[in-house]
């Protein structure tokens, strides 16, 4: 049966070569593509109150939709102690709590009548409000956006509903290994007293009042904090005029202030292997090395080194070894974070059955070691560099992506036109650079490893590949208890 199948396949190959199909794909010839990196200056406008707007209009293949996003510097880093969750509630209630002119249900009714969407949210260091509307309805859409942005009502009833929903989210904290790993790793990286690990609790949610939302709004709405991205079907000049009449007319109120600088962490991390016990069919494993910022001259080499290790799916070494060779995981990844406000991290992650954790992690450490000790081949470097460079145009595939990227980067304070020389700088990375960055970034003495799963099975390891979790690396092994979902206090 199998032999016959092979025979058919061989005949198939013979037929293939009969027509002038090259025997290897490398023999195909491709015409070059010229792609100009979009420039900030072609999109950026200063509104009359100084707010930068990034405006990108559709070509003829776009749809009749318009999207306007106003974002600002602010977010959970401004939550007062004891009121963690304030920015999150504010973020949703800005558009769900109605306006002083339209109560919540009426605002939603108008949006539905226009088939428009108006959403808002706050993350750690930014907030945004976003409108999607048909081009013909842009004036009314912008009016609704401005009402929500400048005159939100923060309906008490809607706030109470949002708190009930938050309570349910809090209740789910320990339900799966991923969610547990998320909070445990933040405590390991940032300690107990930094906004990046300060999640809401039942008590902090209860402490938040409508007045807190009003105050948060009054402080944040300052033109110096705001950025606009607009994209879609419109005439550019008309859009700029419309933005000037609306967002461009916002003035700082009496309580408004320029958002303070995002604080940087000073927590001394303890390297180690940390284990949280959770009865689950599969464990999640994460590891973290200190990284670099995107403005560092070494970023490009670091990025390529990370691609080779684990940033590029199946072409990366971790995936080839741990998934393709060993069948131990559905996916394993490594990421070099850009480090928006402070040095980022190099983070790795995978999920595997409890008993495979020690072995799979040993394999990962082995791949990291090889990258430090042996030069990568020219071929492997070329594949990864070409991949980044050739795929570059796809990052800019829509006008919405261009406008939002430029607005986000302006808000985060990245240099303008950082991308213009990007491809050349990636091309300049050498095999020696990759090794140098692997050594610089993957410092095992500073490594934090976290495994969440059935501790007894994880710690014992796999009889087929003997080795206990504690012997995986010369780092101390420590159990870290689950936290109470309601209080986030460790459960002894």
């Amino acid at each position: 049966m199998i032999r016959r199948a092979t025979l058919t396949i061989l005949l198939g190959v013979a037929t293939a070569f009969a027509q002038d199909i090259p025997d290897r794909p490398e023999k195909l010839q491709f015409a070059p593509i010229k792609f100009e990196t979009p420039r900030v200056k072609d999109f950026k406008v200063k509104l009359q109150n100084g707010i930068p707007a990034f405006v990108a209009q559709n070509g003829k293949e776009g749809s009749p939709l318009v999207r306007v996003t106003v974002s600002w510097r602010g977010g959970a880093y401004l939550d007062p102690k004891g009121k963690e969750g304030l920015a999150g509630l504010f973020g949703s209630q800005l558009t769900q709590g109605g306006t002083t002119k339209l109560e919540a249900a009426k605002l939603e009714d108008r949006l539905e009548a226009l088939a428009a969407t108006l959403t808002s949210s706050c993350a750690d260091t930014s907030c945004n409000i976003s409108l999607q509307v048909l081009d013909k309805d842009l004036p009314e859409g912008l009016d609704l956006l401005m009402q929500a942005l400048t005159q939100p009502a923060f309906s008490q009833e809607r706030l109470d509903l949002a708190k009930r929903q938050a309570r349910q989210r809090i209740n789910r904290r320990n339900d799966d290994v991923t969610s547990i790993a998320n909070y445990q790793m933040r405590y390991l990286l940032y300690g107990e007293n930094f906004f990046a690990s300060a999640d809401d609790t039942v008590a902090s949610q209860e402490a938040i009042t409508r007045d807190d939302l009003v105050g948060f709004h009054a402080r944040g709405l300052h033109p110096a904090n705001l950025f606009v991205a607009a994209s879609g079907q419109f005439d550019r000049k008309a859009m700029v005029d419309a933005l000037n009449r609306t967002v461009g007319s916002i003035k700082a109120g009496p309580q408004a202030r320029v958002s303070p600088v995002v604080p940087t962490p000073d927590f001394p991390r303890s390297p180690g292997i940390f284990v949280t016990d959770k009865d689950a069919p599969q464990a999640t494993v994460r590891w973290v090395f200190p990284g670099i910022r995107r403005t560092d001259a070494d970023w490009y080499a670091g990025f390529v080194a990370n691609q080779i290790l684990g940033g590029r799916g199946f072409t990366s070494r971790l995936m080839k070894k741990i998934r393709s060779d060993e069948g131990l995981t559905y996916g394993v990844y490594s990421t070099l974070e850009p480090g928006t406000y402070w040095r980022g991290d190099v983070t790795g992650s995978m999920q595997t059955k409890n008993r495979s954790v020690a072995y799979a992690m040993r394999l990962a450490l082995e791949e990291i070691r090889k990258l430090k000790e042996q030069l990568v081949s020219d071929d492997e470097l070329r594949v990864n560099k070409d991949g980044i460079i050739e795929a570059f145009p796809s990052q800019w595939a829509t006008k919405q992506a261009i406008a939002n990227r430029f607005a986000d980067e302006a808000r985060e304070g990245w240099p303008e036109d950082w991308w213009v020389s990007y491809r050349e700088k990636i091309q300049a990375v050498t095999v020696a650079d990759v090794q140098r960055m692997a050594k610089k970034l993957a410092d095992n003495d500073k490594m934090v490893i976290l495994a969440v799963g059935k501790a007894s099975e994880m710690e014992a390891g796999d009889p087929d590949h003997p080795g206990a979790l504690k012997d995986m690396a010369p780092l101390p092994l420590k159990r870290v208890p689950l936290r109470d979902p309601a209080t986030l206090k460790p459960v002894p």
Partner: protein, 521 residues
Amino acid sequence: MILTRGLVLAAVFLAATPLMAQDVPVVERTLSNGMRLVMVERHEQPTIACAWLARVGSANERSGTTGIAHLFEHMMFKGTMTIGTRDPRRDAELNARQDEVQIRIREEMSILREKQRRGEIADMMDPKARTPRLQEALDEFDRLVKEQRELIVKDEMDKIYTQAGGTGLNASTSEDRTNYIISLPSNKLELWFWLESDRLANPVFREFYSERDVILEERRQTLESRPSGVVDEAFNAMTWMASPYHWEVIGWSSDISQVTREQANQFFATYYAPNNITAILVGDFNADAAYALAEKYFGRIPANPKGVPEVITLEPKQPAEQRMVAEVETNPSLQVVFKTTSAVHKDAPALQALAGILGGTPMFMGRPGGPGGQRPPSGRLYKALVLNQKVATNASASFSGMKMGGTFNIRVTPAPGKSPGELEPALQAEIDKVLKDGVTDEELQRFKNATLVGFYGRLETNTGIRETLTQFLAVGTVQDFKDSLARTQAVTREDVQRVAQKYLVKEGRNVLVTSRKEGKR
């Protein structure tokens, strides 16, 4: 007044729609071997979104080989006679020897299966339960795998696509289709034809047995690790009695771990013939040139004159309400599922409207590079149960149409302190209102408008158009895609009430009530 506004709005919508589905310039061609090629030219960005789909999925499986369609999807990345090996001849020998050892492994596994059947061991997959002969065979197999590894060019297709600037190389399997996708710079179209036709013409399913382990990990990650994962699987199996939709696409663990390469070969010969495959290209290329390339590359693959076996088993009409009461390690919830129709059934658009009106039309803002976020649902259920009665914190409804059938799903999250049981009468009251009084013109018009805007959003990018076409081609034809908006616009209030009365019936209810399992960490 409001009603008039709705109608005026509709008129304006239809007049100002440069991007209606019927205006997407879809070209459909059939190759000499019966393979179909669906193309949309768009020239503003130098990229092409590529896909091909085989009309085969978990619905084509049988008990004992569940999960094979999905396992097969993984095998299609393992290379060909040319791609993925340094020595095709030695590679084939090693594959044959591996298969021989696997026969011995299966013999030992059947001994263990018998022991498990008699209760002498608890779990035949437990390494501690292995017989010495099994361990010997596993060790020998391991040696053969290691030897083969020296010849393998690991994940070579991924490497070639990566170097060419490909993004999003992936595949997915559903109940009804298996889909292989990638986006490429527009100058690399011929590379796509080369690699994709090569893996259809000359595939080699190497690393077959270790890939079964990957899939078991995938199952653990995507199904078993979800707090309600195995209960959801059981609920689905309860809902579908006879239809092959009874099992999850990923299959039962017992079957995944025992699939053989011979079964995979058989599966490929039956379902991956060109006459069961459609390719989709969207982006910056010339359709005539692409057609010529398709004939040159894909045209060399012989058709299967026998055709593809149909899925015969039809789901019988459900005679009585079915109910599952489960404890799970997460928040309580209430789900009610009614079996409905295929996605291309004439009742489908009205069922979609019913879901939109009851559950709200989620309108996604998320585009590549855009801020995410979804507006809260605005349907009747959310308004009644969440906003007015405050007994729930979320309530949604959806119609899910597959090829051979579909479901109408309602999901409610009780408010803190409320039990799912308390919600059932309130939910039934809302359903009864539709059964008795139907829906309003304004609700229906708003649903139609939201659907249109949703379509605009999806048809903005090459990948969005590719995904939308894939959805329709998995269950129907290009004509179904072209007609879909017109079918939605043609739905009447009477249609909505009629389908509610036809499908949302008492004996058709499948109810899942979950409460939080306490005391387990």
